[in-house]
Amino acid sequence: MKARLEELRGEALQELQGVETQQALNDLRVKYLGKKGALTEILRGMGGLSAEERPIIGQVANDVRAAIEAVIEEKAAAFQQAETNNRLLAETIDVTLPGKKLPTGAVHPLNKVAQEIEDIFVGLGYSIAEGPEVETDYFNFEALNLPKNHPARDMQDSFYVTDEILMRTHTSPVQVRTMKAKEGMTPVKVICPGKVYRRDDDDATHSFQFNQIEGLVIGKGIRMSDLKGTLLQFVQQMFGEQAQIRLRPSFFPFTEPSAEVDVTCVQCGGHGCRMCKQTGWLEILGCGMVHPRVLEMGGYDPEEVTGFAFGMGVERIALLKYGIDDIRHFYTNDLRFLGQFARI
């Protein structure tokens, strides 16, 4: 009986070796291990064995069953694997076809730059003040030490609505409004962003409408050196740690002393290039100590407090930052232009 069992094992294993399909495997399982299978058939003869032989033959039968089952399991797993592989192969797609992008719109580059500047100053403890774009002559000029007939009014030919009302030519009137609203309280620490308007023929570098951001600080003991320190902090955050500033004496009716501020050329890092006309510097800011007349008209005593102010053109900075060659792009809003700013 043992010999027949061994023979069965040999026969089954041989037959299993040639199996190619799951179905054939199932058939062989039934054939050898099923209720009416060959193994069961042989074991029916167990009744005729002696008590000593029975456990021995039982052991052999179990071994044979286990050996056959092991091979069947192994084969089944292999078939399963192959089937899975085939299925996945069939599911293959072309991963080079384009995906479905999330929509991406762009903040207008001028606002993108303005927000960046605002964030820097908010981080330095400034709040953001806003005011009307249509202003009175008083707030736009007179309260800024530019009385009627002042020669400096030449510098900014304006769009008047009436003799007393005009499109603001700078955001400085917001500074005056801020001072008046503060009623002599200190400190004042604001920036004033917004649109301004000057009579200018439009070309690649001029626009009759543009954006400014101005800053105003008033307090006890504010020094010109604080102004320099503040501007240095700003340009290093805006243009990188390597950026330096250079102040040149200049004139604005509302500040004294006044200065134009140059920043290390963003293109060449100060070595000299076409953008900076070989000087290594780019002019981007105007600034100065608030003129005592302006403090007085704003309700402050220039003997008690001092202050500084600065201003910059957002377009100018955006042009430099992105290397844009024509200021008109900002206002014609070609989608192919705007779309370029839909990223960090």
């Binding site: 207008h108 709040s127 007939n149 769009f159 320099k228 009716p253 705007l338």
Partner: protein, 813 residues
Amino acid sequence: MKVSYQWLNEYIELDGLSAEELAELMTRGGIEIDGVESRNKGVSGVVVGYVKSKEKHPDADKLNVCKVDVGTGEELQIVCGAKNVDAGQKVPVAIIGAELPGDFKIKRAKLRGVESQGMICSAKELGLNDKLLPKEQQEGILVLPESTQLGTPIGNVLGIEDEVLELDLTPNRSDCLSMLGVAYEVGALTGREVKLPSTAIHDTVEKTSDLVSVQVLAKEQCPHYSARYIKNVKIGASPQWLQNRLTAAGIRPINNVVDVTNFVMLEFGQPLHAFDADKVPGGRIVVRMANEGETIVTLDDQERRLEPHMLVITDGNQPIALAGVMGGANSEVTDATVNILLESARFDGGTVRKTSRQLGLRSESSIRFEKEVDPSRVIPALDRAAKLIAELADGLVTEGVVEAVSQSVEPKKISVTLERINGYLGTELSSLEVRTIFGRLQFPYAVGNNDEFTVDVPTRRGDITRAVDLIEEVARLHGYDNIPTTLIHGDAIPGSLTKPQAIRRELRKRLTDSGLHEVISYSFTSPARTALFPALTDGAKAVKLAMPMSEERSVLRTSLIAQLIETAVYNRNRKNESAAIFEIGSVFHTDEEQLTRLPQEKHRFAALLTGNKSETQWNSKAAAYDFYDAKGIVETVIEVLGLTPKVTFAAAQPEHFHPGRTASVALETPAGPVVIGYVGQLHPALQVEWDMADTYLIELGLNALYEEASADIVYKALPKYPAIERDIAVVVDANVAAGSLTAAVEGTAGELLESVRVFDVYTGERLGAGKKSVALSLVYRHAERTLTDEEVTALHGQVVQHLEQTFGAELRK
């Protein structure tokens, strides 16, 4: 102001300081130099020659063959085509090897068979500016004065071995509209001394007061008028050196008298005027305001109609000059002039400015008067000019000045302490350093207790009126670079955005994240555009600019979408057919025809969708924008602002919107519901007119939204008990709004209804004409227990019944 380096050198030693270095020094000191230009445009090898003889060219009518001596002993044969060439002239000769502007090299040549060993040059060929040449030099070769030395390089004769600094002056530094002013500035920067020109006059016996009288009636507009008299002048060309000076400064030489007045104006910054004394009857000068309707023919031969605010110089009868602006033709100095009445005066800047503006007449003179001249130079300039006229025109100056002075000006005294200077600038300057700076500026000063400086500010620096002006002088001469960089001391205060600022940022972020591009359009637009959408202007008028640049940009925008349409059309014309854009900005409304107060500036949000929201891709079809895309944007904005329960949409027919595809947006405010804007399709007729695809527009007022927006997020506990969902489909008349169905459902179902959602709308033949089916999904839930099927069924039954009764709805099975 153009400043000749060589000329400046006469008033201050420039040794060891090149023109470029000087420019840099001045720029860093606050006088910006726009450029440094060489006066020599590329001339070399051109020398003064003498034309010994001139003969006709044998084979060319228009050419002459000249024998020319250039001082080398050798006689050159030169063929010349100029009509005015003649024997006995001194002329500029470009010899073989010479170079002329434009990289033009002179070579040995044959002209119609005759050898030419060089070229006789015109002024133009030497690179001189046409516009600055005296009339006689504008054509033909340049004929030099007989006294010119043979063989001299022409550069020395014409003074073009020189560089010109172009000063870009800020309005406060009009003191540098004179060579002396510039010299003082350079003196302050370098510590070198300023050399003043001579004003000494050797008088004749005759007295000016016997020949001239001056009466000023308009004292406020003319605080000082002075005159001199020069007899027996011979009008002629100025000497070359004088012409060179003027040309370098950009002024055309005219004759010796006029040239001197211009020369001295450039030296002192004091404009002068020379009258032909014999055309001023009795030498009588009366300065007064012009009479209404009075006219004068100015030196440029234009008749000018005068107004009473204009100041004129008269002969007691009629105007002979427009004070400070331009002289009159009736008293002009001509070749026949023998006696000169010379004027040096101070006219009020504002008056001159207004006159010059109104007549469109800006002159070197008016530019200087506008910015106020130095009162202390009126007489020195007069003397200097009289002296030079006498010298150059061979005249005699009579004795004394005739003048009328109603206001004399003393140097201002201003005090400032060292402590104040250092406190203001953040510097640690010593008293000595400050003394040195005032010394270099040539500002007399005294030092009192506590290092208090009391400075006598010279009248030439009219811009210095307060202590801070002195501090600025100290700062710029100390060098802005030498001011330290410090941080503001005192408590740091946190910065922040206001609520509207934060809301605008959030909207920008949401909208761009949803694929819309932000635009910034012009605030100026055409009246036609402001009239397009009256529903968005609240009955207001547009603000008109007094002097617009064009009709297209003559008024302020009253809505944003009118501008967005312009932007969309611009893009469509550039093949950007589809657009999703938005703008956040101000519109301007007024109820006044002529503004007496500021207009209302309203913050608006607007968007425009046109064309396709997505293009055909391999796995999806193109889809066009529709009304619900636009409405969805509004709903999202409202949702983000926490205002969904306060906003309602209702069908509306505002002008120039599609009458069937537009909704008003109303916001519940404490004062009741307010329509804050519209969302809808552009009227198809306008779409056709502008050749646009279906275009959807949104415009909302932000001010009310700022007020109502809620930034408070209050957490609601997540539901603990299950919901029961019931769907119904009802057939109603097609004109029943889905919004009224959902509102009715909400009203009937009460608190147990968690949400109602329209999930299908269907129209079709099976329903019959004028009918539609609306499918709703209702979710019921109780916060504290599980709802039973029975109670939901009962409640749901009421809902259905209500719909049936209210809308004649039929339940679809």
